[in-house]
Amino acid sequence: MSLQQTTTDEAVVAAQRAKAAGRRYRRQQSAIDVLILFLIVIAISVIYGFISPDTFAFNSFANIQNALYTIPIEVGIPALGVGVLMIAGEFDLSVGINFIFSSIVMAQLATNGMNVWLAALIGLLIGTGIGLLNGLITLRLRIPSFIATLGTSFFWYAATFFVHGASSQPFSPDPAFAALTAGSVGVIPATFLWWVVLALAFWGLLERNRIGNHIFAVGGNKQAATATGVRVDRTKLLAFALTGTMAALGGILAASYIGNIAPSTGQALPLEAIAACVIGGLALTGGRGTILGIVLGSALIFWIRDVLLLIGAPGFYINAPIGILIIGAAAIYEILRARRA
């Protein structure tokens, strides 16, 4: 009897230990380090904002609302696609021009009298198509996606000027469309809500859906994925398509919020999205990363710029600290990874 008791106790202890270990591993795999970094820099900014509200208006309503409006469309939403594609082991350097091209076509169609919802749907389909084409070129020709999408980005730049020219395209949608894409719920901007919903959806896809398992597998070890029957090309194609869709959606939301689209913008987006992902802990080699990391990485990129603008740093130098953050983040992750392995 007492022996049986002991065995049961031992089993209970073992089960508890396994549970604790599981929690510990899940925490390690979440983007907890990025979250801590993020909370620290936000806390410092908030405190400094309270100490010196006149010279550092970080806590002002306008600044916060601007951040919530801008982060999703400047980098956050496209970065979700770029990040998922990076986890699948590929890159897309054409998201910047995809962002512009899809939204310009949409705005042109809407301005020429097409129903704006239909025009937006066409814009999204164009974005998805650009992503799919990137995937097909990369996978069929067996060339690095870095090169394939560099190539297609030049093509779509030319296409943008071909269909529209160099002037900016105004976009003033009907009130319902404007409310959904550029309005706000209470004080929360619609673009921010879109970002949150999309981030949750992407989290579900990556962490809870079979497709996510395959995305991690093809990016982490292509041979292993093939050997276990994962359809590598199909999974990658899907990631390319999603990236295209997110770039286009970012472009459409931005067009609606800003009211016009300038063909020359968007060039920094691809590398900034990749930078956000690297800051968020994604591996350039694929197979590793979290949605929370992508989200916080996007926010941190914006945060640096915001802080520098608030303290009145000269515009030319604003990119330098971003560079330092990227290198620093990559170095820190490498150290953490080596220690855990």
Partner: protein, 263 residues
């Protein structure tokens, strides 16, 4: 020695009429060369149903190439592979996998950046509506197979990343995956080289259990003692050829050692 034999004599095989005559897998006159180097010369052997076959031989004997042929990684220059009596062409690993052949290499087919549970179910996820994974169930099964099949030290949770495991632990995960999905033929290339004694015992115990369920295994190993304890039949290769074949009852460790070292 006789004690060992008594302990490990395979259980009486269920007599299967008709089908029993057809081996599960047969290699007929298989040849393979790399340049001038002939690595497989008229290799003939078969794997029976519900049988654990040892593929023995010194380094360079051709075991690895033979295994790669079975798992579809290497295509022979000539010769035939018969699966269930029918000729098959294994042009890729996936062709072999489709037949139910699973090959386990040292740290085969695992993704370092994924958890053990997600690795075990990679490509064969348990899903509900819309492809959403039944995470809890997958974790529980992963936990269970790790505890019962390979019983290896140091794996305290299915949420651990495979990248943080040792070579032996990774192998244990690969083995656990293969046996969980109950393939028809397991090909284990030096499976115990990185395993601790206890884990080796657990693995052998499981191979025996699988045999009672009708599954076959090919065990490639340097360890003749291990092979003798668990295998029903032995194929010894030397310099690309099959130099000796015998059932467990017909031979002894001494004889096997002799054939392996003579090549």
């Amino acid at each position: 020695m006789s004690m060992d034999r008594m302990e490990t004599t395979p259980a009486e095989q269920p007599v299967q009429s008709g089908k029993a005559a057809t081996p599960l897998l047969e290699l007929r006159d298989v040849n393979k060369h790399y340049g001038l180097n002939k690595v497989l010369i008229n290799v003939c052997f078969h794997v029976g149903r519900a049988e654990i076959l040892a593929l023995l031989g010194d380094n360079g004997a051709g075991k690895s190439t033979a295994v790669k042929t079975i798992s579809g990684v290497v295509q022979p220059d000539s010769g035939t592979l018969l699966w269930d009596g029918k000729p098959v062409a294994l042009k890729a690993h996936t062709d072999a996998a489709e037949l139910g052949i699973e090959t386990i290499y040292q740290d085969s087919a695992l993704v370092d950046s994924m958890t053990i549970a997600r690795n075990i179910f990679m490509g064969r996820e348990l899903v509900g509506p819309l492809g959403f994974m039944r995470m809890r169930e997958m974790r529980e099964i992963a936990s269970h197979v790790l505890r019962t099949i390979v019983a290896i030290e140091g794996i305290d949770s299915p949420d651990k990343l495979v990248g943080s495991l040792s070579g032996g632990q990774k192998q244990a995960v690969a083995i656990a995956r293969a046996v969980h999905f109950k393939r028809t033929l397991l090909v284990l290339d030096e499976p115990t080289s990185a395993l601790a004694v206890r884990a080796t015992e657990a693995l052998f115990e499981y191979l025996r259990l699988l045999r009672t369920q009708g599954l076959s295994s090919v065990l490639v190993t340097h360890n003749l003692y291990d092979a003798y304890r668990i295998c029903d039949r032995f194929v010894v290769m030397g310099r690309g050829q099959v130099v000796f074949q015998a059932t467990q009852k017909e031979t002894s460790i001494v004889e096997l050692t002799e054939h392996v070292s003579r090549g």
